[in-house]
């Protein structure tokens, strides 16, 4: 009863609707310039320290291979200048397998192909099994068993059954992606708030609407979270597939460098793969921001001003 007097003052209502109109919020205009400058300075420091870290590690590596080759032999451990030289040769001339862009393109095709196939299969099966009790009770044991075995060895099987072309690599990548996406989609469907389902049903949603308008949007944040990991796995699948037998690709490039005892070549290949993974990660993050713009900003990402 303590809020009675305050409440009494608040109930001025508009006569026709009975609803007081809430004024639209004003944009934030008053920001402290000083704090914004401090924030920028902090950002600058972060970038500077990042670059410094890279410089220190690379310099230590380069200097130790150059002045103490008995301890760290550049023949086995490579050398930043050698890696750089290797990259320059690859970019300007060509690799042992042909032009570099072609190797990158082949591996990218295999990765993206496997990523798409595995993601679609994972989402479809995850949603189906999350929605259907019988399906999940019957198949869960097989999925768990399949998940327990190291699936990269399937690459060997696919190399035999699907041949040495792109299909065996896509299959290997897809298998790795499938399980991660599947488990997330399944869990996402299971975690949908019962309140939301009840509300949709009361409002008149049929089973199809319930799936498309409540279950899938709700599971989407789980599914998209899994895509970050699974693109990396698709890359692993494609490269492993190439190691089992291929004529082109970055994995094959690394494989041939290894056979020539070219440590710098191995590192240069790894660097290419890392770059590809980072670009893909940026694309997925952009996709995530677009698809889940209804989600409140993550705690801690707000700027204190």
């Amino acid at each position: 009863m303590s809020g009675r007097s305050a409440a009494a003052r608040l109930d001025e209502v508009t006569p026709e609707t009975g609803a007081p109109q809430v004024p639209a919020p004003a944009p934030i205009t008053d920001m402290s310039a000083q704090r914004i400058r401090a924030r920028r300075r902090y950002q600058f420091n972060v970038y500077a320290l990042r670059i410094l870290t890279a410089v220190i590690v690379l310099a230590a590596w380069e200097l130790s291979t150059r002045y103490a080759p008995t301890v760290i032999d550049p023949f086995f451990w490579g050398q930043p200048s050698g890696i750089w030289h290797q990259l320059v040769v690859w970019f300007t001339d060509e690799t042992a397998l042909g032009p570099l862009w072609k190797q990158v393109l082949v591996t990218m095709e295999e990765t993206v192909g496997g990523f798409i196939v595995g993601t679609i299969a994972g989402v479809v099966f995850g949603v189906l099994m999350g929605r259907n009790r019988l399906l999940s009770d019957v198949f869960s044991i097989y999925i768990k068993a399949a998940n327990a075995i190291p699936r990269v060895v399937l690459g060997a099987l696919f190399a035999i059954s699907l041949g040495l072309d792109i299909r065996s690599k896509i299959a290997t990548a897809a298998v790795l992606v499938f399980f991660v996406v599947f488990f997330n989609a399944f869990q996402g469907v299971r975690e949908v708030e019962r309140n939301l389902i009840a509300n949709a049903r009361i409002l008149g949603a049929d089973d199809r609407r319930l799936t498309t308008e409540v279950i899938i949007p709700s599971a989407l944040s789980w599914i998209i979270a899994s895509l970050h990991i699974s693109f990396g796995l698709a890359l692993v699948g494609a490269v492993v597939g190439e190691l089992f037998g291929a004529t082109e690709g970055v994995g094959q490039l690394i494989y041939s460098a290894e056979h020539n005892f070219n440590a710098n070549g191995v590192f240069a290949g790894m660097l290419l793969l890392a770059t590809m993974a980072l670009i893909a990660e940026a694309i997925i993050t952009a996709l995530e921001d677009r698809l889940i713009k209804w989600r409140p900003p993550q705690v801690g990402s707000e700027v204190q001003i």
Binding site: V13, T17, Q21, G204, D206
Partner: protein, 268 residues
């Protein structure tokens, strides 16, 4: 005209995960007339929410009869609206799409649904917020969305499960007055579950007191206060206090029983 809602000898049992049988409601009788605003009060865990679930058709009764406008309830009835205790608006839909959901599910074209939704959004005082997502709104504003979302389907029965319990006192008084004015235009039957006896009396034509679980109707009290009401002013009328003390006498025994039980199960 048959009563809007009839429950006769209704019992609801649940199987708990440990395999034990839990009786939420036992032999419950309740009749709500068309256009009547009923409040249901009772101690925590007495099965108030379960009653709503049975009327809505979200859950079947274990025994007894549940009828809506003379028809036995077999599934989710078309003419029902339900405002949940916790947020149940869809977080991935904007205010406009949230409110338009009901008509869309009933086959209205997207354009008509949106037009109708705009009208309801202005009726609950949220004009200008159509493109916001729920996380960008305050608790009270989200409740307005939930109200518009339910009322746009023009339900003949509106079920409300402690809808305002999470709001602060001032917002709550505002929302209660708004609910009354919206209800006066719609003339739907309302079943309003609350643990707050003051809120129950201020809003309702009739207050049902449910006993400590397993829940059954202990008594029902008519509230002969005049309408239209202002929930903050009506509390100061002497008649309000009389009704309050009469019902509280009944309710407090149940609250004590429930409290003692909780203490014991907490100690065990």
């Amino acid at each position: 005209m048959p009563p809007a809602i009839e429950l006769h000898g209704v019992t609801k049992r649940f199987l708990t995960p440990s395999g034990a049988v839990f009786t939420a409601l036992r032999d419950l009788d309740m009749v709500v007339q068309p256009g009547e605003f009923c409040a249901v009060v009772g101690p925590t865990g007495c099965g108030k929410s379960t009653t709503l679930a049975l009327i809505s058709g979200l859950e079947p009764a274990s025994e007894g009869e549940v009828k809506v406008f003379g028809e036995p309830v077999t599934g989710i009835a078309k003419s029902i609206g339900y405002v949940f205790q916790t947020d149940a608006v869809f977080p991935w839909k904007t205010v406009l799409d949230n409110v338009a959901a009901g008509p869309r599910y009933h086959g209205t074209t997207p354009r008509e649904a949106r037009e109708k939704a705009r009208e309801w959004i202005s009726r609950v005082g949220l004009s200008g917020f159509e493109d916001r997502y729920p996380y960008q709104l305050s608790g009270g504003m989200r409740k307005r969305v939930a109200l518009a979302q339910s009322l746009i389907n023009e339900p003949r029965i509106l079920l409300m499960d402690e809808p305002f319990s999470a709001l602060d006192v001032q917002t709550r008084a505002l929302m209660e007055n708004e609910l009354l004015s919206l209800w006066a235009q719609s003339k739907a039957s309302v079943v309003f579950v609350t643990h707050d006896l003051e809120e129950a009396i201020a809003l309702a034509d009739r207050v049902f007191v449910i006993s400590a679980g397993p829940g059954t109707v202990k008594a029902n009290y008519p509230v002969p206060l005049t309408r239209p009401r202002n929930v903050t002013e009506i509390r100061m009328q002497p008649q309000f206090s009389e009704i309050y003390s009469e019902i509280w006498n009944d309710l407090k025994d149940e609250v004590l029983v429930s409290y003692e039980r909780q203490k014991r199960s907490g100690a065990a």
